[in-house]
């Protein structure tokens, strides 16, 4: 069952889950979760352009192309919001759909060139973790390791930058550069993950584990660890489940595993989960009633 390649896929999915879980938490706290979605969609034209220029589908080259257009999309969102009265949601939706539209135009052109038909670029839309080549998985894993390392290195700087940028600047942190670094790392996470999970669902890897982890704690450190754990768990479960049956894309299964973890957290997490909250509310009301009763005596 656990053949050599599947083991590699499993390792890759777990590392990717950890990387996305960590990075996604920072994006979540900046309220930038959907920017990640736009950046993921914007990877498509980059992949197509890279293929059209170099006529080969080596992962590093396609990843580079994807990273360039993804970063461009993020920059464009900031530019539009900064220089017009449009709000972030409109800018994100606009950039996301237009970049993806351009991507489809280019992809159609690629598919019309003779060799392009077999280029497998279409796989990027839904991901194909289970059938990734070993060399690609090595790329994926090392890139994910780099992201994890960076998140650990800059943990306290990003924490302060997100919580209180003015104070961070005041104590001499290069806030602007830190922000650019975090954005770059988000782009890297997306680019790393899209071949495995797919463009459309990559943002889920960033958003769902972080959102689920938020219900478990109010401390950033614990949220980060929980989110990384959820990411790794959904990556592993998703890979294993989707290997049971041919024709199942890995991306959707990973996302559904993450969604299940989210639902569990939403209802049962002891800190901010729905059930514990309503219990606390009830206890609070009863306390008040009791207090009132003694007041009246």
């Amino acid at each position: 069952m656990l053949t050599g390649n599947l083991l590699w896929v499993l390792v890759g999915a777990i590392l990717l889950g950890i990387a996305a879980g960590l990075n996604g938490t920072f994006a979540f706290l900046q309220k930038q979760s959907l920017v990640g979605d736009a950046a993921a969609h914007a990877a498509l034209p980059g992949i197509a352009i890279a293929y059209l220029i170099f006529q080969q589908k080596d992962l590093p080259i396609l990843m580079l192309g994807a990273a360039i257009t993804s970063a461009l999309a993020v920059y464009m969102i900031q530019w539009i919001v900064g220089h017009s009265k449009l709000k972030a949601d409109a800018a994100i939706g606009f950039v996301l759909s237009v970049f993806f539209g351009i991507g489809i135009v280019l992809l159609t052109i690629v598919n019309q060139t003779g060799a392009g038909n077999q280029s497998g670029l279409n796989d990027f839309i839904f991901g194909k973790a289970a059938t990734m080549a070993k060399s690609d998985l090595v790329w994926l894993s090392s890139s994910a390791l780099l992201i994890i390392l960076m998140c650990l290195l800059f943990f306290k700087e990003w924490k302060l930058m997100i919580f209180d940028p003015v104070f961070a600047k005041g104590i001499g942190l290069p806030v602007e550069r830190l922000r650019v670094l975090l954005t770059a790392l988000t782009v890297l996470t997306i680019v790393t993950g899209i071949q495995a999970v797919g463009i459309i669902l990559m943002s889920a890897m960033l958003i769902i584990p972080a959102a689920a982890a938020r219900f478990w704690s109010n401390h950033l450190g614990i949220i980060l660890v929980t989110s990384a754990f959820f990411g790794a768990l959904s990556g592993a479960l998703g890979t294993i489940v989707s290997s049971f049956r041919t024709g199942l894309s890995t991306g959707p299964i990973i996302v559904l595993c993450a969604a299940s973890l989210f639902l569990i957290s939403y209802f049962f997490a002891p800190t901010r989960g729905l059930i514990s909250k309503s219990l606390k509310k009830k206890a609070f009301k009863q306390r008040n009633v009791a207090k009132e009763a003694t007041n009246h005596e």
Binding site: D89, I92, F94, G101, V105, L206, I208, A259
Partner: protein
């Protein structure tokens, strides 16, 4: 004739989405529309699983329910303490993944492949016709006309209500407007618009058409009615120019229409007199120059 139907379909998508999109921008719910455009897939698949048919009515109903479900779930998660962007992200990726899974498991051999859902098949529109009262037109055109009619009726009856509950919900509530009911009715319209459009042009172009023209119109106009006119104009322009460019370069029609929406937006964003980016940058530079001269 086939070209005519494709152009008409594209233009109707432009008009309908342009109209609906205006209040998406004004209500700052553009990303909920993006979410709905993904989750209608889920609705259509479930409708198919229940009825075992791919007829237009069931698709519309399934999509409307999925759209409402999306809106509702986002609101539930938000009131459960999750911030809006994350709530949207969690809901639509989960439902989309579920939709894709259902297709693979239960509908694998039907004409319901996911790429079709994403990119649409506008070139095939003329061949799939419906006869209504002895009048034969492409199915897509019928559906779009129907949804356009609903949109127009909604605005004819509730224009001032939706405007006020968008601009100042707190005040609207104080004079007794049912703002939550307005929200859900409007989101139902968005879902219906999405499904009517996406069968022909795909989910991605629907999002582009819902958000892009209205966002461009937002930069252009000083009144909601002006914004509606501009938005529909931009939508139709993008549809027609996109079609001919796609024909010229022999590429995806829907993708090219989305790209043209981007081009139109950038033209307005950069070159609009007085508050376009280039105009403003130029003015700033001139101001700096005069300042320097005044100082020296």
């Amino acid at each position: 004739m086939n070209e005519f139907w494709v152009l008409l379909t594209g233009s109707l998508v432009g008009i309908t989405c342009g109209l609906t999109g205006v209040f998406l921008i004004l209500r700052k719910t553009a990303m909920i529309a993006d979410a709905i455009s993904h989750t209608v897939l889920f609705g259509i698949v479930v409708a198919f699983m229940i009825t075992q048919s791919l007829s237009g009515y069931w698709m519309l109903i399934g999509a409307a329910i999925a759209g409402l479900l999306t809106t509702f779930l986002v609101q539930v998660l938000q009131s459960g303490g999750l911030q809006e962007d994350a709530a949207i992200g969690v809901v639509f990726t989960s439902l989309f993944a579920l939709g894709v899974l259902f297709i693979t498991l239960f509908a694998g051999n039907v004409h319901l492949d996911v790429e079709h859902v994403l990119m649409g098949e506008i070139a095939f529109v003329p061949w799939d016709t419906w006869d209504v009262f002895g009048f034969s037109m492409p199915k897509a055109v019928w559906m779009l006309l129907f949804v356009l009619l609903l949109n127009v009726l909604f605005l004819v009856f509730f224009y001032k209500e939706i405007k006020l509950s968008t601009f100042d919900p707190v005040f609207a509530l104080s004079i007794g407007l049912p703002i939550l009911a307005m929200h859900y009715s409007y989101m139902t319209l968005v879902s219906l618009t999405t499904v009517a459009a996406f069968d022909s042009v795909g989910a991605v172009l629907v999002v582009a058409m819902l958000i892009g023209p209205a966002a461009t119109a937002y930069l252009m106009s000083k009144s909601v009615s002006g914004m509606i006119v501009w938005s529909m104009t931009f939508g139709v322009t993008a549809a027609i120019t996109g079609y001919y460019l796609a024909k010229l370069w022999n590429t995806s029609i829907a993708g090219m229409m989305a790209a043209m929406i981007g081009v139109i937006f950038m033209l307005v964003f950069l070159f609009k007199p007085h508050d376009g980016w280039i105009w403003k940058t130029f003015k700033r530079m001139k101001l700096q120059k005069t300042n320097i001269q005044a100082n020296s």
